[in-house]
């Protein structure tokens, strides 16, 4: 499935298109920024840190990811990132984080795949 406009993409991946168009004015510019998300490393760093059980680093990476997703209005993804962030904060609830994290991974993959389908 390919997406002709960023508008379509955003509706499919639970993003706030209205907000994005308000800032970036054109659909093309929104597309450009959505594609930049493919190059963002925070998810990779988070993955690495979780594998290494370095939860302090994981917190920082998850926090970064949350920031980026909120910036480009990927609200649903951002909400899930927040679930992970809050459990990792001060290593409050590592077990809980381990449960929420796979859900985040899944959502993230879906978003990345969708963006790759953008024309």
């Amino acid at each position: 499935m390919s997406y002709a406009t960023a508008k379509e993409l955003y509706s499919k991946i639970g993003g706030n298109y209205e907000k994005m168009i308000g800032i970036f004015k054109t659909d093309d510019m929104v597309k450009e920024f959505a594609k930049m998300f493919l190059d963002d490393n925070s998810a990779i760093e988070l993955d690495q840190a979780m594998k290494n059980e370095d939860y302090a680093a994981a917190f920082e990476a998850a926090h970064k990811l949350k920031g980026v997703t909120l910036n480009i209005a990927l609200d649903d993804l951002g909400a899930q990132a927040t679930e992970v962030v809050e459990r990792l904060r001060n290593q409050k609830d590592i077990e809980g984080a381990k449960i929420e994290y796979p859900k985040l991974q899944e959502m993230y993959k879906k978003v990345i795949d969708a963006i790759k389908e953008l024309n």
Partner: protein
């Protein structure tokens, strides 16, 4: 075609996530010149190079190599934190994290997700605030410099006047210039110790300077006393003594001619010193027989200094006293009664005064 303003202000955006940098850059690029830093180290390097040109910094706290906190600390080190505002855009929004950020030196906190119009407005407001503050500080610095300069000019003018009057005394043969110089220097040394020992007088260094200049004119009134009395070598009659003692009041009368609309500090010191430098702590001085603390401290000091110099001055004694013997005479009350305060200062000052006496030697 875009109208580019002649001078665009520069914004520094420091964030390790490219998307974040690009997004802020996008918002500001039309109206500002944007520089990016991908970590704290680069941010610091940019600040080192362009510190005077950056109007505002958008700072992320969590960055590799050097963090936002490192950047804030660097700014504090070089005194940049009061000159260049820092805006932190963050997903954290607790009172604790906010307070921590402000303590570190952040000026504004904006929460994610942000509204770009709010960001633009607050950015411009913050830039304007800091620019106004910096301009004001600069103006204050300049005014302070100007004020200091006029003070110096005024001081030199006063010094000129006092020295001119002092020369009159010297020309008439009433005082030697060495005596006047020593009185001035001795007074300066003594007043320095008075300032130190007795903070209740709240003396400033400037006032100490003025008092020592004023000391030069302590015997100004002698020009109004008949010459035959001034230059008489033998013992005075009672009438002659009475007339001689009036040199104190005559000095004040002469000074009154120089008084301007407002009584300056220098005038006050000259007046007090002329008037009271022959009073004694025990009330047996002249012209008013006042005692102790009723005598202005500067007059007391000049009184002591004048007596002391009198002992070591070959003009007044065929064989003047040795500096140390003279010092003992002063302390023993052999040449006048001085208050405890002044004697205490003298004890601390005498070594320095001996040195001065050796330097400004009397020509016999």
């Amino acid at each position: 075609m875009k109208n580019a303003p002649i001078e665009m202000k520069t914004i520094l955006i420091a964030d390790d996530a490219p998307i974040n940098r690009k997004m802020l850059g996008f918002i500001f690029q039309e109206q500002f010149n944007v520089i990016e830093a991908e970590n704290g180290q680069v941010a610091i390097e940019i600040l080192e190079k362009f510190k005077d040109e950056i109007s505002i910094i958008f700072l992320d706290l969590m960055m590799p190599i050097k963090t936002g906190i490192d950047v804030l600390e660097y700014m504090k080190e070089i005194g940049l934190n009061n000159k260049v505002p820092v805006i932190m855009i963050t997903g954290e929004s607790t009172p604790e994290s906010d307070e921590k950020a402000y303590q570190l030196g952040v000026s504004e906190i904006i929460y994610k997700p942000f509204d770009e119009r709010v960001v633009m407005r607050r950015t411009k407001n913050t830039i304007e605030l800091f620019e106004n503050r910096n301009a004001l500080e600069k103006k204050l610095e300049e005014r302070t410099k100007e004020l200091q300069k006029s003070k110096e000019v005024l001081f030199h003018q006063n010094q000129f006047l006092v020295n001119a009057l002092g020369s009159v005394l010297e020309l008439r043969g009433y005082e030697s210039s060495e005596h006047l110089m020593r009185v001035r220097t001795f007074t300066k040394i003594m007043m320095g110790y008075i300032k130190q020992l007795y903070p209740e007088y709240e003396l400033t260094d400037e006032q100490v300077m003025l008092i020592s200049e004023a000391a030069i004119l302590h015997d100004l009134g002698k020009v109004a006393v008949p010459e035959h009395i001034i230059f008489k070598n033998t013992k005075y009659t009672d009438e002659e003594m009475e007339e001689f003692e009036k040199h104190t009041i005559y000095g004040c009368k002469i000074l009154e001619n120089f008084k301007q609309q407002q009584e300056t500090e220098l005038y006050k010191y000259c007046y007090d010193i002329c008037r009271y430098h022959h009073e004694r702590a025990d009330g047996k001085g002249y012209p008013f027989n006042i005692k102790e603390d009723k005598i202005p401290i500067w007059s007391q000091v000049v009184g002591l200094v004048d007596s002391y110099d009198g002992l070591i001055n070959p003009r007044l004694h065929k064989t003047p006293y040795d500096v140390k013997i003279a010092s003992k005479k002063v302390k023993d009350g052999d040449c006048g009664a001085f208050s405890e305060k002044v004697l205490k200062a003298f004890e601390l000052a005498e070594e320095e005064m001996f040195t001065v006496a050796a330097k400004i030697n009397y020509v016999i």
